[in-house]
Symmetry: C2
Subunit: 166 residues, 2 copies
Amino acid sequence: MNNIINCLVENEPGVLARIVSMISGRGYNIETLNVAPTQDRKVSKMTMVVPGDAHIIEQVTHQLTKLVNVIEVVNMTNQRHMNRELILVRVASKNHVNRSEIVDLATLFNAKVIAVQEDSVTVQMVGNQDHVSDFLHLFEPYHIMDISRSGVIAVGREVAAAKPVS
Amino acid sequence: MNNIINCLVENEPGVLARIVSMISGRGYNIETLNVAPTQDRKVSKMTMVVPGDAHIIEQVTHQLTKLVNVIEVVNMTNQRHMNRELILVRVASKNHVNRSEIVDLATLFNAKVIAVQEDSVTVQMVGNQDHVSDFLHLFEPYHIMDISRSGVIAVGREVAAAKPVS
């Protein structure tokens, strides 16, 4: 099972290195990882997809919370959330071969063709983990010239409970 | 200036840790970073946005190429490419306040409203570095409940030169 872990960290030198070293040092596997600033430039948010059962994920989150400069660790898989990943893929289509097939496939995934060139078509796709996996699978038979995946990001969708009127 | 560096690495334990440690150890700043598998599961692609002048970027790419398990390092900024970033932002809109304003702003950026709840609107936006920076700037006055940025990814758009007919 792929668990999505969000981690808020202070934007200090060495934080990312400490986190990544801890995880790989203990032999946990990271499927995708990304980190970027939040609206507060002093705080960055990191999202990791870590395969493993509940026990492994509990260990990872526990170890993460003990690290310096780590503000908050949330296993998004345990709560209502929305996850998305961005993919850019440049598919070979020399002399227009396969071009309409590739464009049709992109359309089925609500993906966007962002470049058509004499040797290729470049497609931009956003989806949740299942969509991304289907998308990559269906593009496998083609010749992929270049691919970039952002890794999964996630935001919560829990609504704060309404306060009782006093 | 923000430079986009793509790095192909062997999918071995410790590679990411070595790269991140080298960069932070030498005091270079990473604005965003992400890493995910390519179509070849043995190879991952990492994209880093590193602020700095040409001299700094030359040093970073040179140091990266010297690391074990690093297959290829490309400064995308030096070549024709397309870069994109994905952002999920949950904006407070208690009792519908600001809701239509937020939706209008999202529409201007071709962003997609992916959740409307009693306390918030969640928007998914994809754009290049300039679009993302404008988008974040215009959402600053609102109360951001949660934000996740994927960091920039990039694919090349150079077309291979046609071979002369012999």
